[in-house]
């Protein structure tokens, strides 16, 4: 866990797909979002093409630390959804009848 994310800064980007900063995560928790799934969805963490590969663990640790909860409890409902990487619509349509 990098110490840099605990410093107040607008420039530390946690989610590179949607440009979510550490500060935005902190503010959302302060605003009263007390569930990690709600926080994650509210900030669109894991909604981009990487599906949370880079942001989820950092955000989950920040949330766990702020709320005093365990990491496994925080990540209980986090699920990666198919496809694993974005796929062109073209591949799905080839030779398929409507």
């Amino acid at each position: 866990m990098g110490r840099e994310v605990s410093k107040s800064s607008n420039t530390v980007i946690v989610c590179r797909c949607n440009d979510v900063t550490a500060d935005e995560i902190r503010k959302a928790i302060e605003m009263g979002i007390d569930d990690f799934e709600l926080l994650r969805k509210y900030l669109r963490l894991g909604f981009g093409p990487c599906q949370g590969r880079s942001c989820i663990m950092i955000a989950a640790r920040m949330f766990a630390r702020a709320t005093g909860r365990g990491l496994d409890e925080v990540l209980l409902n986090y699920k990666v959804r198919p496809p694993i990487v974005p796929i062109s619509a073209r591949y799905f349509i080839k030779g398929v009848k409507s």
Binding site: N18, M31, G32, I33, D35, E37, L38, K41, Y42, R44, F47, G48, P49, Q51, L76, N77, K79, R81, P82, P83, P86, I87, S88, A89, R90, F92, I93, V96, K97, S98
Partner: protein, 379 residues
């Protein structure tokens, strides 16, 4: 007075909000998972009043009036961009004309568009396949997560107790009342209880011997990578293809595609259907050729909690005088949230709904056979 609400989705939280507004001090909302985990955070976020039964039109008009009235106080976002029902066949357009006449009786300003007008509303449509459309300019869409989180934070600030990750196992009846609920976190007593738990409402209410005809029907929406603003209407519906494939573009630029496909009722929420993609894409790609070159980003599954007449079940769970239900929204629970809250609050506190027509939507209708009739089920 102490009220227990089962289900911390859009319905449960609006019911809690209205109860607090009306002076109820002790309101607890229990959910088996995280708040909004059911249909609330899985739907497409579209809204309209252009339904085809008086019940739906009257209640949705009231509900949307309320969504907009609460906009500033709650920080809700709602955008009226219109629904476009595309007709590929001339006879479909004739059917739309009848619907428009019905809507006009209720001051819902839908209108029929010819091909030229369709082009102006959505220039990207392949109008070679289109004979016209029905357009509802007052329909629109909302960012569901943002609106729901704002509501959640607000009701918590108002003193509503929200208890997530706690399952209500059964109700404990005594005579013509239910007096307590047995939950995974212990027994909870109350003066009145409301079940607003989507399809799970059926299993819970069965514990007091009452049958609730709701079936969870899986739906499989797909979302694309974000693109610059592409689609003008909030929702485009390919009405002449079975299962009415439809597409919306959300606030972040992603397009969401869906279609009502045959599926196994009550299938697991994690039974993925990658095979649904081509069936959803192909007809929509005919209408919107640019869809060939988009990237599919993600897929999720959610349920429509369907009732036999596709209308919600509101009101008392007879014979119990202090047990109420608000479930079976059949895909319309998000937009109905505010009116659901006010209806159930009035039912609990005044003994009757504040809008008369809601009486047609009680559980009784399945016993008497007086189901609600729609002219057509449209999307």
């Amino acid at each position: 007075m102490k009220v227990l609400i089962v289900g911390a989705g859009i319905s449960g939280l609006f019911i809690a909000y209205e109860l607090v507004q009306r002076g109820v001090k002790d309101v607890t909302v229990i959910d088996s998972s995280y708040p909004g985990s059911g249909a609330t955070l899985r739907n497409l976020g579209c809204f309209r009043t252009s339904f085809t039964s008086p019940e739906h039109v009257v209640l949705l008009k009231e509900s949307l009036r309320e969504w907009f009235a609460l906009k500033d106080e709650f920080g809700f976002k709602l955008e009226r961009r219109g629904y476009l029902w595309v007709a590929r066949k001339p006879e479909t357009l004739e059917g739309f004309k009848k619907l428009v006449d019905f809507h006009h009786q209720y001051d819902v300003p839908t209108r029929i568009l010819d091909v030229e007008e369709v082009k102006r509303v959505e220039p990207r449509l392949n109008t070679k396949l289109v004979v016209g459309a029905m357009f509802d300019p007052t329909a629109g869409r909302m960012p569901i997560i943002e609106n729901f989180v704002n509501l959640y934070i607000k009701v918590k600030k108002l003193g509503v107790k929200v208890v997530p990750y706690t399952k209500v196992i059964k109700f404990i009846p005594r005579g013509d009342r239910v007096v307590a609920a047995e939950t995974s976190g212990g027994t909870v007593e109350f003066d009145a209880a409301v079940v607003a738990a989507g399809g799970d409402s059926r299993d819970l209410i069965a514990t007091v011997g009452v049958d609730v005809p709701i079936v969870d029907v899986p739906r499989h929406p797909y979302v694309t990578e974000p693109y610059a603003e592409t689609l003008r209407p909030a929702l485009i519906i390919d009405w002449d293809t079975p299962g009415s494939p439809h597409i919306t573009q959300n606030e972040h630029g992603s397009m969401i595609l869906a279609r009502d496909l045959e599926d196994t009722p009550r299938a697991s929420i994690y039974s993925q259907r990658i095979d649904a993609v081509p069936h959803i894409l192909k007809p929509l790609r005919e209408l919107l050729p640019f869809l060939s070159s988009v990237n599919i980003l993600r897929y999720w599954m959610g349920y429509y909690d369907m009732t036999p007449d596709h209308h919600p079940i509101y009101g008392p769970v007879t014979p119990y005088e202090n047990l109420f239900i608000a479930a079976g929204f059949s895909g319309h629970g998000m937009m109905m949230g505010p009116v659901t809250g006010k209806l159930i609050a009035s039912w609990i506190l005044d003994g009757r709904p504040y809008i008369d027509i809601a009486k047609n939507l009680t559980l009784e209708r399945f016993k008497t056979g007086r189901l609600v009739k729609e002219l057509a089920v449209i999307g």
